[in-house]
């Protein structure tokens, strides 16, 4: 069964304190791994797509990496506005003709000034 697990569930950082969020996945065949950001009361906002092990993508203070079993979202020198829930999702070859996403439960990040 395709599965995604994120850790930690919650993370508190001081402004400027770098850290990483983990996404472990088990899929029948990975088509893509997605990172989304979700603010309270809003829908998920797309951040990155990674397709194969060794791939990395960056956007401002965020950097996503991918291995065959997990992905990391590295946050460098975070600011309070980076506070949000970060969701990881996979799209598996077993999804057939749909491309449906399988999400983890999310990591809620709080960055204090």
């Amino acid at each position: 069964e395709d599965q995604v697990t994120q850790s930690p569930e919650a993370l508190r950082l001081q402004e400027g304190e770098s850290s990483s969020l983990n996404c472990s996945y088990t899929v029948s065949g990975l088509r893509g791994l997605f990172w989304y950001r979700q603010d309270p009361g809003k829908g998920p906002e797309f951040l990155f797509t990674l397709y194969s092990a060794g791939e990395e993508k960056e956007k401002e203070r965020l950097k996503a990496t991918l291995t065959k079993k997990e992905s990391f979202l590295h946050i460098t020198a975070p600011k309070p506005e980076d506070s949000a829930t970060y969701l990881c999702a996979v799209q598996a070859h077993g999804s057939g003709n749909t491309g449906k996403l399988i999400f983890g439960q999310g990591t809620t990040l709080q960055v204090k000034p």
């Binding site: 995604v4 893509g32 906002e45 797509t49 969701l87 999804s95 449906k100 996403l101 999400f103 999310g106």
Partner: protein, 117 residues
């Protein structure tokens, strides 16, 4: 351009009432998805449309849930005889291409928060 929109943003229903949730995808997007998000959890897949065809409804929790996209654009998720366990945020997402062709970004709407009393 305009993103995915959903209405209403909030819906309160008494147990046993029927509700209808609307999704307006990004214009021209072929694929449309519905997800259910319980409090503190990640979204869970409900159903998928490619244009007007419902190709996957494997995530619908029961036969009380019904979705349609008759003209290949706007979609409606209907829940009959609502139960307390139906309380959740219902998210709609759209993507440009057909789901089976390639990995494609899904863009989400703001969601409808359904509370069943």
């Amino acid at each position: 351009g305009a993103g995915v929109s959903q209405s209403p943003r909030y819906k309160v229903a008494k147990r046993g009432q029927d509700v209808a949730l609307r999704c307006d995808p990004i214009s021209g997007h072929v694929s449309l998805f519905w997800y259910q998000q319980a409090l503190g959890q990640g979204p869970e897949f409900l159903t998928y449309f490619q244009n007007e065809a419902q190709l996957d409804k494997s995530g619908l929790p029961s036969d009380r849930f019904f979705a349609e996209r008759p003209e290949g654009s706007v979609s409606t998720l209907k829940i009959q005889r609502t139960q307390q366990e139906d309380s959740a945020v219902y998210l709609c997402a759209s993507s440009l291409l057909a789901g089976g062709l390639r990995t494609d970004t899904q863009y989400f709407g703001p969601g409808t928060r359904l509370t069943v009393l």
